[in-house]
Symmetry: C2
Subunit: 346 residues, 2 copies
DNA sequence: GCTGACAACGAAAACGTTATCGATAACGAT
DNA sequence: ATCGTTATCGATAACGTTTTCGTTGTCAGC
């Protein structure tokens, strides 16, 4: 017993003894059909288990009620962002489809364009681009960028306050009494990495501390690369007493390296991360970090996008910047020899 | 300068001086058009930047070339599975759309049905269900289940060898010399949790060890719940020297609790997990665990599904079971007082 | 009993494709 | 010249909707 090949609007019309136009009106709550017949049609619809074909509707209406979200890879940050996007989309009548480039982006600028040209206007009504390498391109469909590589220009953008966050992280370490503070930066081509480095330097300057370039490394936001750099840092003759890592993944990798080398966190080394991904509160020791409201960034992105799709005339350079905050956990402490002082800075 | 409203096949036909039928044939490499005109049409297509409307094609062809993957939530396991699915789908001509229930499933049996009825036959050609609560339902479109709650029945299914995995994990601990071994099980309604408990009991029996029911707890695969249970376990007067956790998330939570209580892993407590999610090799200490080939499970699922969509007549009870393996890292050791022995069991 | 207004409904075009099938032309064989 | 064959191409119906607009019926008001 194979299932009957799916009822169409014509089947419903025939069965209810009305025209397809009437059925359509009932479905869409359009004016011009008596409550009596409407009720009857609804009965038949339920009886047949009819559901309108999204494909046909899309063709007719020139919109698919689907929005796409493009990510380079599904690391914890993207996954968290997806959750936020998923939260925001519920109840809006839109569906969310996720495209992952599967991590094979590899510094390839413009990966998102390949996807979007195929998709836009035919499969999705708009898209959220996560960490796009290119902004300002006209894709023929609304697009909002989250945490883009390049500065906000031409496209609505969402990110968090990277500069202030980095400043808070560094100030926290300085307040604890650290003086030799290393920076394990992100990928230099990413705007967020540049901003975090800027915040770091600002805080160091404000604290009257010189930035020793020897202690500024590039971890590329990647656990492997960061681990290698951490190994170098901690092998230095006059090694840093604290590390500010560009993201939590790097920070966790750093803590692991410290552990391998017999250094205890936070006793021998303080570590601060950035992002506050779920793992930050799970690992041991739990990680002091800068919280980005990742989920909210996801939510706001789809809300903004849906607004654009519905025709809202946002200025092209809308830029939503969400606040960051310091979350103090167990990976930071005053350096050996100093009594612990202030623990709250934010 | 707004973008011209997207070229249609008719525009191409007009510009190239041929009929739409001919253009269609060129696009789909159908027989019946001379190489000359084909070349010319291709030129015009490039010139206009024409891309066929996926929506119109879907309506006409009764297939969307999209497959859906439904997950309850985006925890690390699902995310990893998605990557595998993404790998497998590249180059097949299918697109992958991800639906996440956003974690609000909450033991609600049948959440997947709501989604699928709207989707199948209209937005997707088939679907992969991750950890579905219901199997054997006819959705009118091909479906394959990954790691289902209930036993394999009526639907092609993919999972890993949970029983053997759990047996290996437990045997590893027994070989190290542990005798008081606790089980921090998963959600009792999940088949995988039941099978892992079975494997645990088999290994204990094989080792001649009694299972003390006091040491068998339910962690529900959830970090919070597991942490609470771990606290109880480790506060026991005669506390276990080793814990076999139902998944890595629980194992990591257990290690954190141990840390809080001043117990050192692996010196004072050995911990084994299950899954081998990326975090398992990142945390400190790194986690001894049972590796499930999660990505491969994702790949195999979409391969199987695409086969079904293409008309392959798989028997409805196809059941692919992938092997598990023991990965020994730094969270296990012989109990205090005993010299370390065998470290390799697999 | 007419007219006008209004509510309820349906016929048909359109959205952008693809498949079928008939039309035309070219050409070799009879 | 006629026929059959083959290669190339185009007109058209269909896929399942929505929307426009015309048709019909009803009824109040004169």
């Amino acid at each position: 017993m194979q299932p009957s090949p799916r009822a169409t609007i014509r089947d419903v019309a025939a069965r209810a003894g009305v025209s397809v136009a009437t059925v359509s009106k009932v479905i869409n709550d359009r004016y011009g059909v008596s409550e009596q017949t409407a009720a009857h049609v609804r009965e038949v619809i339920a009886e047949l288990g009819y559901e309108a074909s999204l494909v046909a509707q899309s063709l007719r209406n020139h919109q698919t009620n689907v929005i796409g979200i493009l990510v380079a890879d599904l690391e914890p940050f993207s996954a968290e962002l997806l959750k936020g996007a998923g939260d925001a989309i519920r109840g809006t009548g839109f569906e969310l489809v996720v495209y992952s480039a599967g991590g094979r982006v590899g510094g390839h600028v413009g990966w998102e364009q390949r996807y979007l040209s195929r998709l836009s206007g035919t499969l999705v009504d708009g898209a959220v681009l996560v960490t796009p390498t290119v902004v300002g391109v006209n894709y023929g469909a609304p697009v909002v960028a989250v945490d883009p590589h390049t500065g906000p220009a031409g496209q609505p953008t969402i990110d968090s306050d990277n500069v202030t966050g980095a400043r808070m992280a560094t100030a926290h370490l300085i307040t604890l009494g650290h003086r030799r503070i290393a920076l394990l930066g992100g990928r230099p081509d990413l705007l967020s990495a540049q901003l975090r480095e800027r915040g770091f330097r600002q805080a160091m300057a404000a604290g009257g501390l010189p930035v020793e370039e020897e202690l500024v490394r590039i971890g590329e936001y990647d656990p492997e690369v960061s681990a290698a750099q951490a190994r170098l840092l901690l092998a230095l003759p006059d090694r840093p007493t604290a590390v500010f890592a560009g993201n939590d993944l790097s920070a966790i990798a750093t803590m692991r390296v410290a552990d391998e080398l017999g250094l205890r966190v936070p006793d021998d080394l303080s570590v601060v991360g950035f992002d506050d991904i779920p793992e930050a509160s799970q690992c041991s020791p739990t990680l002091t970090t800068i919280r980005q409201p990742i989920r909210e960034m996801g939510s706001r992105a789809v809300e903004l996008l849906i607004g654009l799709i519905r025709g809202a005339e946002e200025p092209a350079d809308t830029h939503i910047m969400l606040p960051t905050s310091l979350v103090v956990r167990n990976s930071t402490r005053a350096p050996a020899g100093l009594p612990p002082q202030d623990r709250s800075t934010s």
